[in-house]
Amino acid sequence: MTCHEVVNLITDYLEDALSVDDRVRVEEHFSKCPGCSGYLDQMRATIRLTGMLSEEQIPEEPKRRLLEAFRTWTGD
């Protein structure tokens, strides 16, 4: 398995979607290849940092309209 192949299997690896054989081969590769294990660390850091973002807040106006819609619905 080449570095290029391993790098493109990283998400499958992290998602636990590899066959047992492939998983063993990928892990063997990581243990011997500082380039790929460094890249794996970067992917993990990317996921961790992305998790620190928060989704934007909803503006008040659509919320008010939705509440009106709900009141209409319950009034039916």
Binding site: C3, E5, G38, T50, E55, I58, P62, K63
Partner: protein, 218 residues
Amino acid sequence: MRDTNVLASPADLAVVERLRAGDEATFMMLVEQHQTPMLRIARMYVSSRAVAEECVQEAWLGILQGLDRFEGRSSLRTWMYRIVANIAKTRGQREGRSVPFSALAGDDEHPPVDPAWFQGAGDGFPGGWRTFPDEWDGIPEERLVAHETLRHIGSAIDGLPHMQAAVIRLRDILGWTSEEVRNALDLSETNQRVLLHRARSRVRRELDAYLREGRDER
């Protein structure tokens, strides 16, 4: 084939019960929780944010109208997200946007993992790194989690093809499981992973470029 639908939880059923009883606080809580993800889902299928907002608004009405028919055969949010996805898909089709997976997934013209990083057929180790990626180990944690770094990640995500952006937001920002994302966006297991891989790889690449820029300045 495995049935991937998660049944409605007792908490879901309690929410539905309170909504049927006209509980406004419960409804607004639901809006707070789901408005943004619903907007993300709609945005995958239609041409603008404004149209996506209309789809979400329509979806809420559809959700209220359908509530009496909700039988708990899927989780409440899966059911809700299917409603918004269907509305947005229909709307997108009317707009003349074709939505084959390949188009939504983003092209491979600029692969997030650049083949040029690796040695070619004529080199000593075909497929091996030309030079190892920079290590992030030496970067102080304060810099990694700095507002500015996170802002770069946010704009990298904003720049992704819509479907990749939706998947990475739902998975890595909102913390959904792959199963929940697949159900809500109607994706196969493989396609969900392909989108996630492209999105994360692209974000990593842009983050690396940003962090390296900072190093050169030192």
